[in-house]
Amino acid sequence: MSLQSSFIQIFISHIKREFLINFRSLVDVTSITSFMILIVTLFVLGIGPFEEKLRLISNGIFWIGLILAIIPSLEKTLQRDYENGWLDQAITSPTPMELVLLSKSLAYWLIVIIPLLISLPLFIILLNINLKLIPWLLISILVGGLSISLIGIIGSALTLGAKRGNILLPILIIPLIIPISIFGIGISEAVRINETPLDNLFLLIGFTLIYMVISPFISAFLIRIAISR
């Protein structure tokens, strides 16, 4: 029996670590949902709660909420692991940084997605979402959430070693996120106007797959630079 774990085991242990840190209590689980509910509320109040208006933009609000729910917290853990020296430990270990980062983004995806899926009925009520949309919404949240995590980790890594990183981050990340949000909203819109959402869905999946492959490498490359300062 080898004393050395396989990559899969290391991968799972990383996800476990993120869950330990971020999913400690019920607060953590509910907070993402509450955050999104509040964002939605803020928007609805900002826009004026008229049904026609709301129906026009509910998909947009949902996606922007999703983005705002994932990226800032993802950024914070990466920043924290950088500052407390945990990334130093990871880089001086036999585990490839790419694996660490892939598991981090997957963990984040799960951490955000699970509570959201559970609370989906709530959003359907709040945003008056058409019921025929539900299966599509489920898929697009799943896939889109993953790509948001993957892009989020690139963005955080980009600014980790930079001088005024926290200020730069949103400028760098929003342009990268735009396609995802368009495809995601496109799916819902297509269903709403009774067209096929499949092409948008395939585009979203394709994009996510690309990021799945490149994001760990890019972020690892960037983190090595940040650590070498």
């Binding site: 670590r17 840190i21 020296g85 130093d88 880089i91 070498s228």
Partner: protein, 210 residues
């Protein structure tokens, strides 16, 4: 034999080492000393592979260590003042996730022993955010015990004794002695040489860098 030959290491815009050479003996403790800002931590981080070596060669037993980062990572433990502990995890969880990250399959028994080796067993369920500075340091140093079980060859320690009380310094000395028995090599940065009761080589950067 571990040696650095004509290395140039930069930190930011500052050239900290320029065409600098040094030898470090394997299976011994080498204490790196020197005044503040001379480059002790930089040297350690460079050897650990975190700061790139702009020019020059670093070899361990005639292998260029940075050829295979993964293998070098297997052989090395690096601990500095940042400790690398998540403050939202307990001492025990930190040690466990750390060893899992390295791909080590450790039994619960090993973990317990590791914590015991720095007398942290009583504190194992404290969150790091609840630990005093010295307890944090000890939690970080508990990794050293684990590494004894997994054939790690190098310990790179940056001021490991800083917040330790007298008892813990003794425990730390013991760990080093066990490591030396395993033929391990220790590179240790410290300002206070009187704390140690083992033989060591001294690498004083103040003298060497002239």
């Amino acid at each position: 034999m571990f040696y650095l030959k004509d290395v140039t290491i930069k930190r930011g815009l500052k050239t900290v080492f320029y065409n600098w050479s040094a030898k470090i003996e394997n299976s011994k403790v080498t204490i790196i000393s020197g005044k503040n800002g001379v480059g002790k931590s930089t040297l350690l981080r460079a050897i650990a592979g975190m700061i790139p070596i702009e020019k020059g060669i670093v070899k361990n037993n005639n292998n260029e260590i940075f050829k295979d980062q993964i293998k070098w990572g297997q052989n090395l433990i690096y601990i500095d003042s940042k400790n690398g502990l998540s403050k939202d995890l307990t001492v025990l969880e930190n040690l466990k996730t750390w060893s899992e990250m390295r791909g080590w399959k450790t039994s619960n028994d090993d973990i317990q022993k590791a914590l015991d080796s720095v007398e942290m067993l009583n504190h194992k369920n404290l969150y790091i955010s609840q630990c005093s500075e010295g307890l944090k340091k000890r939690a970080a140093l508990s990794r050293l015990y684990l590494s004894l079980l997994f054939n790690v060859e190098f310990w790179l320690l940056d001021e490991p004794t800083n917040e330790l009380d007298q008892k813990s310094v003794i425990l730390f000395n013991k760990l080093i002695q066990r490591f030396l028995e395993n033929k391990g090599t220790v590179l240790l940065v410290c300002h206070e040489l009187k704390l140690f009761d083992f033989n060591y080589e001294l690498l004083n950067l103040d003298l060497l860098k002239k």
